[in-house]
């Protein structure tokens, strides 16, 4: 690591906070990761672009990802940054760099890396300003998403949502400024995020009804569409979402109701779910069965999964900061945002 000591300390701090789940939620995680990587890029002294890529990918990126493998957004941001570096170097070498070659990208990078430390010096501030732009974009992700609210919600609609997603919350509140509709919120045991969501929506003047998780199927026939957030979107268009989302999406499919997922593109992960449970976590079963309830707990297996996998065929539409996309289009977005070399950090 070429960076100064305090940078090292910052990396260490983020790694620890990730590990201890002090930074949770895709958005917080990605902002923190992006800011840290901006510092890493600016502090790293590099002549060859491989050096920079190695630092970002292997020295810092890998440590962050390993610290909390379930926070897929960390890996996404690392990939985005790597892609950004590669792209900047490529255009830089093409327009202002020493090489005239347009053969393959590796040769271009090599060309740049080979001869001119001057080129690297000139590329570095460009990369940093791009990174800053990315952070700004991250901070304003939901602005682009909620701008589309009017296109998706008509008047007198009944919308179901599950869990608490800031994007969905803003989305619905924006729509409520002009349209009148009602929202059914599944309470989302065991976190009761649905309660929080309902409280927030009702305070914004939206007609909100909290239902128990068990009543999702019963009321689904009256729902017009399901709008929900997600923790991460996988390469096949599947979701890693709040536990309970799977039954909401399945019930919606069985009633032929569209499932709309509001998500920033930073949640789009290049990883593929070869096994449904590979991205799931079983967490403390205390909310399911309290430890204070006596001896019974010794003889029972308790399940409390933290996430749910929602397969892509259950999702009708993704509303992202770049517009609405069907799950079948996500592979294009992945190609645009990530470099195939970086998918396994």
């Amino acid at each position: 690591m070429t960076g100064p000591r305090d940078l090292n300390a910052q990396i260490e701090s983020l790694v620890n906070r990730l590990r201890r789940r002090q930074v949770v939620g895709s958005w917080c995680v990605s902002i923190e990761t992006a800011m840290l990587l901006r510092q890493v890029v600016s502090a790293t002294r590099w002549n060859q672009v491989e050096t920079l890529i190695k630092v970002v990918k292997e020295d810092v990126g890998r440590r962050l990802v390993m610290a909390q493998p379930r926070e897929l957004a960390v890996g996404n941001i690392v990939c985005r940054v790597l892609r950004l570096i590669r792209e900047k170097i490529r255009t830089f070498s093409f327009y202002g760099g020493s090489g005239t070659g347009t053969n393959t990208q590796s040769s271009m990078i090599n060309l740049l890396g080979d001869g001119s430390p001057m080129g690297a010096k000139r590329a570095s501030p460009l990369i940093i300003s791009e990174l800053q732009e990315m952070i700004n974009e991250l901070e304003n992700t939901y602005v682009n998403i909620i701008d589309q609210a009017m296109e998706h919600i008509h008047s007198n609609e009944i919308i179901m949502t599950v869990g608490k997603s800031r994007t969905v919350e803003m989305f619905l509140k924006t729509a409520a400024k002009k349209r009148k509709f009602s929202v059914l919120v599944a309470e989302t045991f065991p976190t009761y995020l649905g309660h929080e969501m309902a409280l927030s929506l009702s305070e914004a003047g939206i007609d909100t009804t909290v239902i128990s998780d068990s009543a999702i199927f019963a009321v689904m026939s009256r729902v017009n569409k399901v709008i929900m957030g997600t923790h991460a979107v996988l390469a096949n268009g599947g979701l890693i979402s709040v536990s309970g989302a799977q039954m909401v999406a399945t019930a919606a499919k069985h009633h032929s109701k569209p499932v709309v997922v509001c998500t920033g593109l930073y949640k789009l992960s290049p990883l593929y779910p070869y096994d449904e449970d590979s991205f799931n976590d079983l967490v403390a079963p205390d909310p399911v069965f309290s430890f204070n309830e006596g001896d019974l707990i010794d003889k029972v297996t308790l399940l409390n999964p933290y996430y749910d996998y929602v397969s892509p065929e259950l999702v009708s539409l993704f509303i992202t900061n770049t517009g609405g996309h069907p799950p079948s289009y996500l592979y294009r977005l992945i190609n645009e945002n990530y470099d195939p070399d970086d998918t396994d950090i």
């Binding site: 009602s182 309660h195 009256r222 399940l303 749910d308």
Partner: protein, 437 residues
């Protein structure tokens, strides 16, 4: 506030107080009156042991209704205003379903039998719940009513008894909507009453009716359950992982029986808020030594991958093959169907109804919405974020009690007449009509 309005309010309060007083007097009188005929059979006939024992319970139950009458001014009034507020925050699409007010023993008409008053309270507070338990409890209470009944001069038992029973039934329905099974049982009882010979003496007729009720409980519930368990045992094999939802008395019997038969299987119990009925089942199965996994509905997708069979109980079966059961059942059945796991329903035929239903809206029941606020999964209540919901104009809570599982999710139904596809419900109703009646 202007003085005119104030006096109007005061007048209203005065009028209300007067009304309440009159009601209380009436109730006290009613309770007094009820005690007199209740004692009569004990001194008069006392022929069979059952008559003696029931009259004893009825006389002990009488003071209970009196105390309820005196305390009602504070407690029930408070409850009344609360339910009024809750009713004003009804969810639109369920506004046709009244939120149960709960039994009000103080305001009960005088002809209501003490056993029914007690039962009404137990129903409304969910002390007795589950279709079978409620049906048995109601029939046993009706036995007491019949035993304490005396045909008035100038009429016959078969003509007058139904009119005596109907206010009792109405009272129970007001306490909590009647279950389909109970409806069938009551229809059966009325039919039995109508077939009683006019020449028969009161005592004989009452004895006969009580016997008939006992027979109904035995044939339609107790023995039927045993037969269902026998059939169900054929479907449980070594190594099975059985998933069940909430708690059904038949499924519980079946799992316990399978365990005593030495079949090695695991059980996954899926539960849901706010009723937490699965916890009772869990307790029972774990104490019997069955390997149990317990999870809530949010984990159903996760839990479903190991499951080999799903056993569910029923509240009622509609004639179109749809299952009407505890809310959440449809979701479990759907998730099982998604993974091609067989869904087996255990249901006695007395729960079959010739009604048809397509959604969970038309016929359903709403529980107390305040149950949603309490986020505790233990006995100790723990108010969550929504405890102030009554003050939030745009916030409503919905506590639905039942849902409808479409027939496409159900693999088979185990009844006491055999294992049938759920689409055969109308066939059973037709073939066994004389028995179910």
């Amino acid at each position: 506030m202007d003085p005119v309005k104030k006096t109007a309010k005061e007048l209203k309060a005065e009028r209300r107080a007067l009304q309440e007083r009159q009601r209380a007097e009436k109730a006290a009188r009613a309770a007094g009156n009820a005690a007199v005929p209740a004692k009569k059979p004990a001194s008069g006939s006392g022929a069979s042991t059952t008559v003696g024992s029931t009259s004893a319970t009825s006389t002990t139950a009488t003071p209970l209704s009196e105390t309820a009458g005196s305390t009602k001014t504070t407690d029930s009034k408070q409850r009344h205003s609360l339910t009024k507020e809750i009713n004003s925050k009804q969810v639109d699409m369920f506004s046709h379903l009244e939120i149960t007010k709960g039994a009000n023993t103080g305001l009960a008409p005088k002809e209501i039998h003490p056993a029914i008053l007690v039962l009404g309270l137990q129903f409304s507070e969910f002390k007795i719940c589950g279709a079978n338990a409620r049906c048995i409890a109601a029939l046993t209470a009706f036995q007491k009513v019949i035993q304490d009944y005396k045909t008035p001069e100038g009429t016959t038992l078969s003509r007058h008894l139904p009119t005596h029973l109907s206010p009792q039934i109405t009272y129970l329905v007001n306490a909590r909507p009647m279950s389909v099974g109970m409806g069938n049982a009551i229809r059966h009882l009325k039919w039995e009453i109508s077939t009683i010979d006019i020449e028969m003496s009161d005592d004989e007729a009452k004895k006969l009716l009580c016997e008939k009720i006992d027979n109904f409980i035995r044939d339609s519930i107790t023995v039927a359950d045993r037969v269902i368990v026998e059939y169900g045992l054929q479907k449980i094999q070594d190594g099975d992982v059985i998933l069940t939802y909430a708690r059904s008395s038949v499924v519980q019997q079946l799992l316990l029986e399978a365990h005593t038969k030495g079949i090695k299987f695991k059980v996954i119990i899926i539960d849901s808020r706010p009723r937490l009925e699965g916890k009772k089942l869990l307790n029972c199965l774990v104490n019997a030594g069955i390997n149990c996994t317990y999870a809530f509905l949010h984990a159903v997708g996760f839990a479903m991958r190991d499951v080999s069979k799903v056993f569910l109980g029923a509240h009622a079966f509609m004639s179109n093959g749809a299952l009407y059961s505890r809310v959440g059942t449809a979701m479990v059945a759907m998730m099982a169907k998604e993974k091609n796991i067989p869904v087996i329903i255990c249901c006695e035929t007395y729960k079959f109804t010739d009604k048809v239903q397509l959604d969970s809206f038309v016929m359903n029941e709403q529980g107390n919405p305040n149950d949603i606020v309490n986020i505790s999964t233990t006995l100790a209540p723990k108010p969550g974020l929504l405890s102030e919901w009554l003050n939030k104009p745009d916030l409503k809570l919905l506590n639905l009690l039942y849902d409808l599982t479409p027939s496409k999710y159900i693999t088979t139904v185990i009844t006491e007449v055999g294992m049938i596809p759920c689409t055969s419900v109308p066939v059973i109703l037709r073939e066994y009509k004389p028995m179910v009646q």
